[in-house]
């Protein structure tokens, strides 16, 4: 038998020596294609000249002109934890008419409903962020109920704040399907379901004595609608282009509706107490917000007449930044601006709040780091808010700025998913609290100055 033990030693020693020589050479010259950069044996034993590994700093470019406006200061968008209306006098309350309304509600002068439409992408899917924001607002200003719930949803099973079950043949017309999108609701959906049913149980109502309105939001039907509400046959009239019909007003937290054979667009069911503050979660996976241009502005006005909103929050941007190298978002500037303007026009009683997008990370040179385009994108979102006289909230700065999400993914317990995009429910809880605190800062500013 040949004993090859020396061969093992030789192979090891030769490989180690060559490997060491290559590693030293790699540090000195860097091989083409950097084939040895990541497997260099001694790279962690040397101090690199500082600037070598830093990603080239990207210029923050905004494709729209920021025209100076009197008594306004654009750079306020950089503040963290604060909502800004860009007033250079920072003692002036932002989202002012909304704050006035909640202050009136709190003082008990006016018993009414205040509604927030929170529009967003997958960041708020499953009522994440909004459920926290709603809970905190309702505990401060009153109100019970989860607000709007769409008939069906991809995440119905995973949403904690409401349990929705539905029959299997609902047809969904949405931003992502072909067909007429002019009369979609703010959710970006409308459903058709002759003879279909839906059952919902609100999981957020803690006050068992509150009377809860269970309201159907639907489109037009020339014939009266024949429904069975909690198995009781009922006839309702939906003769307007957009209808808000209270189906039940009682202490129950659940409702089951069996529809008749009329082919009427159904949007969803809303759970609201008689007065208080309500947050409607309108999440639509994968959109950037420009999809709202398809909805007829006249239809939006009808929504505002029937089911008025007092604050419209626009939570978009993360899907615009889907490539690691993108730093120029000019197409987004031109297409998102009309959407903000349309909302302003159709919802004149509502304040508009543009949310700067949350942090998202990509792998650069195999290390996760904040998207290099994020500063440009946030500046652009702020510039749009500035130009359209909307309000702005810098979520990225508020959650910790550069590489905040990387920290959120890596900390224990983690606050974000490993896709380096989405905060998980703990992270969303944090974002909801931050936003609530920002609103409370404006509220406190308002109440102290108006006293």
């Amino acid at each position: 038998m040949v004993n090859t033990n020396l061969r093992v030693v030789k192979l090891t020693v030769y490989c180690l020596s060559i490997y060491l020589i290559i590693s030293i050479a790699d540090l000195l010259f860097t091989f083409p294609g950097k084939v040895f950069a990541k497997v260099n044996l001694i790279s962690n034993l040397v101090k690199e000249p500082a600037n070598q590994l830093v990603i080239a700093k990207t210029e923050v470019v905004v494709p729209i002109e920021i025209v100076p406006i009197q008594k306004k200061k654009f750079n306020l968008y950089l503040q963290k934890g604060k909502i800004t209306s860009f007033n250079s006098d920072t003692n002036i309350t932002s989202i002012k008419s909304f704050i006035e309304k909640i202050a009136a509600l709190k003082s008990g002068k006016k018993k009414r409903k205040i509604r927030i439409a929170y529009l967003g992408d997958s960041l708020i899917e499953g009522d994440l962020l909004t459920q926290t924001f709603r809970r905190l607002l309702q505990s401060e200003f009153g109100g019970a109920g989860v607000g709007f719930v769409p008939i069906t949803s991809q995440v119905a099973l995973f949403r904690q704040s409401v349990a929705a079950t539905y029959s299997s043949h609902w047809q969904d017309n949405s931003f992502k399907t072909k067909g007429n999108q002019s009369a979609l609701y703010l959710s970006g959906h409308q459903f058709f379901g002759p003879n279909e049913w839906v059952k919902m149980i609100d999981h957020v109502i803690k006050d068992t004595s509150a009377l809860i309105e269970k309201t159907l939001l639907c489109g037009q039907s020339s014939n009266p609608l024949t429904l069975a509400i909690n198995k009781t046959p009922t006839i309702i009239h939906a003769d307007k282009r957009f209808n808000r019909i209270v189906l039940r007003k009682d202490k129950s937290k659940e409702i089951e509706v069996q529809f008749g054979n009329q082919n009427v667009p159904i949007y969803g069911i809303s759970f609201e107490s008689e007065a208080g503050i309500f947050v409607d979660n309108f999440s639509f996976r994968g959109i950037s917000g420009i999809e709202y241009k398809h909805i007829d502005p006249n239809f939006l006005q009808l929504i505002q007449q029937e089911n008025p909103y007092d604050l419209i929050v626009l939570q978009f941007g993360i899907n615009v930044m889907y490539k690691p190298e993108t730093t120029n978002f000019s197409y987004y500037a031109t297409s998102f601006e009309p959407v903000i303007k349309a909302f302003k026009k159709s919802f004149p009683e509502a304040d508009i709040l543009v949310m700067g997008c949350t942090d998202r990370a990509f792998r650069y040179n195999s290390v996760y780091s904040t998207a290099i385009g994020i500063d440009s994108l946030i500046k652009l979102q702020a510039a749009l808010a500035y130009k359209t006289e909307a309000n702005f909230y810098n979520q990225y700065a508020s959650m910790g700025g550069k590489n905040a999400l990387v920290k959120w993914v890596e900390q224990s317990p983690p606050l974000a998913n490993k896709d380096y995009i989405h905060p998980n429910y703990r992270g969303a809880e944090e974002l909801g609290k931050l936003l609530f605190n920002a609103v409370m800062k404006e509220y406190n500013k308002y109440t102290t100055t108006s006293l």
């Binding site: 038998m1 040949v2 004993n3 090859t4 033990n5 020396l6 061969r7 093992v8 030693v9 030789k10 192979l11 090891t12 020693v13 030769y14 490989c15 180690l16 060559i18 490997y19 290559i22 540090l27 000195l28 950097k34 084939v35 040895f36 950069a37 990541k38 497997v39 260099n40 044996l41 001694i42 962690n44 034993l45 040397v46 101090k47 690199e48 000249p49 997958s122 899917e125 499953g126 991809q154 995440v155 099973l157 995973f158 996976r285 792998r363 040179n365 195999s366 290390v367 996760y368 998913n417 490993k418 896709d419 989405h422 998980n424």
Partner: protein, 546 residues
């Protein structure tokens, strides 16, 4: 010009919790180089050679797990003393007491480090006690070396084996660095006799060792890590955000990941051992080629399944009867199954009862058909063994569920065998049936992997929901387009898995006459491929946590 950082240099020699020493570390290259040079130098002086080996092994463990190296050392001392005491005891009674002492000691260490917080959380959940969880770190490899200690003293007690006379022999058996942190679990009667042999390696062993090391690294570092980072981790983190297609492929991906990760690491360990003149039996034999679940368990993590067979399944009664402990465990299992279903899912009492009944029927029906009462015992013992085996992987209900799935699956397969034999005389094993069996077995194993990998029950059930109700075949093409690089890696991985064993032998035969330069070339080619795919985030081996 880069300059030498002396602080960083000295830091390299200390334990870094973020970077436990693994075979793919740069440090390991130096470690192995220094070790092999010394080992070769003193190959004829067995005591010094052993000392070098023990020292390097314990240092390796220190670099992988810090000061827990003391636990390994103490365990070695205690078990060495106890095993010799058992051997010298003349009365059966005395032997038994000493054995119990050893079992208490070893299981005590394992339970303290691994399960204390689990039991605290269980009492908090069920008895509403408000105990705070303790801050206990899990020493790397503890599950592996306590099992080795246990089998050692049990073998001595059974009289199968004379205990090692020299402490150094025992210490080396326990701390042998190639297998210390992640197995394979080796048996003393295989290993100890090799310690004092001359350092000799056959030509074939040199080639085979090289092949195992390079192919093992390839499986772990290139295939497994790539699929983990680019598909599996993100989907398993938040399955509701992904379509059924992505979820399904994440499960297939994970099946490949766990195989490549663990078998890759085992192969490297076995390969290194071969180069040091030690032979360790294979730990995996292309498990996904299995045509049924029983065969799967003869090919998957063989060192653990054979350990469980010899030291749990057989003591429980093996394929004859079940002892009282096993009966108690089965009763607890059914109670747990019933209440678990009710607590974790929203289905009614009736269905929970129905599921329990079906499980019970699977366990009992073979006996009703064959009138052979031993099969009940076999099934109960298998289920109990699988439950314990599941729990060995970690203090989590998901591992218990994983064990239960396999336990019931094994009983279900036994039932099928009996039915096929008695009532389906025309059923033959042909090519079609073998392929069908392989596909079915693979998917059954995948079902188990969902629970094995998922962070909690909700994630596992969400994945099952997405795969069942959100699987649109129209998305298949989009999926391939979106994840083409991952899919390509998976195809490569499954292709490598499908290769028959004799092909690997053929490769080794081809390599054997080559000059050393060719081996060096292959090593550096591998290194360049690794350098291309390597991610900056270290992907710790899955079995490092067990």
């Amino acid at each position: 010009m880069p300059s030498f950082d002396s602080t960083a240099f000295f830091q390299q020699f200390l334990y870094d919790p973020k970077h436990p020493l693994l075979f793919n570390d740069g440090f390991f290259v130096f470690f192995f180089g220094a070790f092999i040079a010394l080992y070769y130098q003193f190959r004829h002086n067995i005591p010094i050679r052993k000392f070098i080996f023990c020292f390097f092994s314990l240092y390796f463990f220190y670099k992988a797990s810090g000061y827990f190296v003391i636990v390994v050392f103490i365990a070695a001392v205690v078990d060495f003393i106890l095993s010799n005491a058992i051997y010298r005891q003349t009365t059966q009674h005395g032997k038994r007491i000493l054995l119990l002492l050893s079992i208490f000691f070893n299981l005590g260490i394992l339970i303290y480090f691994k399960y204390t917080n689990f039991f605290i959380s269980v009492t908090n959940d069920f008895l509403k006690t408000g105990f705070n969880p303790l801050n206990i770190m899990l020493p790397v490899g503890i599950s592996f070396f306590t099992f080795e200690n246990l089998s050692y003293t049990i073998d001595v007690y059974r009289g199968d084996f004379k205990p090692a006379r020299k402490f150094s022999d025992y210490l080396l058996f326990l701390s042998f660095f190639p297998k210390l942190v992640m197995g394979p679990i080796v048996r003393a009667h295989d290993f100890v006799p090799q310690i004092n042999q001359p350092y000799a390696i056959k030509e074939a062993d040199f080639v085979e060792g090289f092949f195992l090391i390079i192919s093992g690294m390839f499986k772990k570092l290139i295939i497994s890590d790539y699929i983990t980072l680019n598909l599996v981790n993100t989907v398993f983190d938040a399955p509701s955000r992904y379509s059924g297609m992505e979820n399904l492929f994440a499960v297939y991906g994970y099946a490949l990941v766990i195989y490549c990760d663990f078998s890759g690491y085992s192969d490297v360990a076995i390969g290194i051992a071969k180069w040091l003149g030690f032979s360790i039996p294979p730990n995996f034999l292309s498990p996904y080629q299995s045509q049924n679940i029983a065969e799967f368990w003869r090919r998957w993590h063989i060192s653990l399944s054979s350990w469980l067979r010899d030291y749990i399944y057989i003591p429980l009664g093996g394929n004859r009867t079940s002892n009282k402990f096993c009966f108690a465990l089965i009763i607890v299992f059914f109670i747990g199954l019933f209440f678990g279903i009710i607590l974790l899912t929203s289905i009614s009492l009736f269905f929970a009862l129905l599921i329990c009944l079906i499980a019970l029927i699977i366990l009992l029906l073979p006996t009703l058909i064959t009138k052979d009462r031993n099969i009940i015992g076999t099934n109960f013992n298998l289920l109990a063994t699988m439950l314990i085996g599941g729990f060995w992987h970690g203090a989590s209900w998901n591992f218990v569920i994983w064990g239960a799935i396999h336990g019931i699956g094994l009983a279900g397969y036994k039932l099928w065998e009996i039915i096929a034999l008695r009532f389906l005389p025309k059923f033959k094993s042909n090519r079609f049936n073998s392929v069908l069996g392989t596909i079915l077995t693979f998917h059954f194993v995948c079902l188990g992997w969902i629970f094995f990998k998922a962070g909690d029950f909700t994630i596992a059930s969400t994945m099952l929901h997405q795969i069942t109700f959100d699987l649109h075949s129209a998305l298949f093409i989009d999926f391939i387009k979106g994840y083409w690089s991952v899919v390509a890696m998976m195809v490569l991985g499954f292709f490598m898995h499908a290769i028959p064993n004799h092909w690997a032998n053929a490769v080794c035969t081809l390599l054997q006459p080559l000059k050393l330069g060719w081996y060096i070339l292959i090593f550096f080619l591998f290194l360049m491929v690794y350098g291309y795919f390597k991610s900056a985030e270290p992907v710790l081996p899955i079995y490092l946590q067990f």
